[in-house]
Amino acid sequence: MGWKNRDVISIEDFSIEDLDMLFKLTDEYLEGKYSNDLLKGYIIGNIFLEPSTRTRISFEVAAKKLGAEVINFIGEYSSIKKGESLFDTFKMMDIYTDLIIVRSPIEGTARYASDICKKPVINAGDGMLNHPTQAMIDLYTIKKIHNRLSGLKVGVYGDLRYGRAANSFILGIVKYPNNVIYAISPPQLRLRDEMKEKLKELGANFYETSNLNEVISDLDVLYVTRIQKERFPDPAEYEKVRGSYKIDLKSLEGSKPELIVLHPLPRVEELSYEIDVTQRQAYFKQVSFGIPLRMALLSLILG
């Protein structure tokens, strides 16, 4: 399946070959090899029904660097506030724009949008479920630093129950051979059953633990996520786990020299600023790759 007019709903829908094509074009864009009027005349609709900093801005910057116009639809200031359905909102944006980017706190929103819209839909995060473009950036970052996406020992640390970025990242990295995944989290924030069964079905080599110390010396990558406060059904449950983990220089003691720390950001209190100035820090590289990768994504889909 080619990229033209393709919906981007889940990282699961993309093969290693698809991702290779995306990463190759990202390399070119990273080196400045692109035409700034490639997408001239296209209008991109950004529908954000939940707060976002990097994803919304980087999609907007990516579109503008290629010459496209961007309409920002913010739920709070729209007819959704008056009770208009998402169905009608998507119908309207499908008429007005050439490509729709949607973020929502409700799981399945992007798939629903893709059922309604004829234009391609990109999922910019739906509830606790998927964040495919973040996963693409995460994989690209690892490839750039480690020069490979296979034969890696990867720790994914934090809120694995509610974190869509962590779940999408895991589903992305297990596509590549000979990777070992350590799902590290407090017991309350373990991977959901359907995710664990999916990983078993995919034949992924994965282990669960609550203790980073047990595995730190093996890791090539440590992917840290914040606790997803907004997705806890009960605020008291959030308070129980809040501050239950934090990565600082001490917690990385005994790790391999080549270990890198990723984080999809925003961070709250789980990742110490003292990592920022070390060789481990890869999260600002993720941020910087976000724009060329999303440029490549838009141009492959609209091309």
Binding site: G83, S85, L86, F87, S104, P105, I106, E107, G108, T109, R111, Y112, D126, G127, M128, L129, D193, E194, K198, R231
Partner: protein
């Protein structure tokens, strides 16, 4: 119909015989059909009898009622092994096979309150794919949440969910 059952329940003249119901599910089948006994229909219910096909089974016979085809797809969710015989003048007039579809649409409700299919102001119908037939296990096609057999039976028979 085995001899054992015929000894326990006489043949019906007109109506529906639902045979090969998994044992213990006959009462759920009656609930699904909306039969409480107050309708005045003659209903025979046999539970836990031997079956060559499924080991132990339940059977429901309802006189003067022909099962609507729309109920058959719902019945597949709680009694996937069942067979339906429509009886007219003591003879099998029609056999209706129960087929569990690969995708179950607009019958069940996702248990995840933040699933898009649960949003009441959207014109959306629930969609589940069948992950396993025995025990029955479905997965929401929007949010990936599983729906397990006991939740399915509860929703079908009690409208719970």
């Amino acid at each position: 119909m085995t001899e054992e059952i015929e000894m326990k329940v006489t043949k019906i003249r007109n109506g529906t015989v639902i045979d090969h119901i998994p044992n213990g599910r006959a009462l759920s089948v009656l609930k699904l059909l909306g039969l409480t006994g107050k309708e005045g229909l003659t209903i025979a219910l046999v539970m836990n009898v031997k079956s060559k096909k499924i080991g132990i089974k339940d059977v429901v016979k309802v006189e003067n009622l022909e099962l609507e085809p729309s109920l058959v797809s719902r019945l597949a969710l709680i009694a996937p092994t069942a067979t339906i015989n429509i009886i007219r003048d003591y003879k099998v007039y029609e056999k209706r096979k129960i087929i569990l579809q690969d995708v179950i649409e607009n019958i069940l409700k996702c248990t995840n309150p933040t699933c898009i299919s649960r949003q009441t102001n959207e014109p959306i119908v629930s969609k589940f794919k069948v992950i396993s037939k025995n025990p029955l296990k479905l997965q929401c096609m929007y949010c990936n949440r599983y729906l397990l057999e006991h939740e399915i039976i509860s929703q079908i028979t009690e409208g719970g969910g």
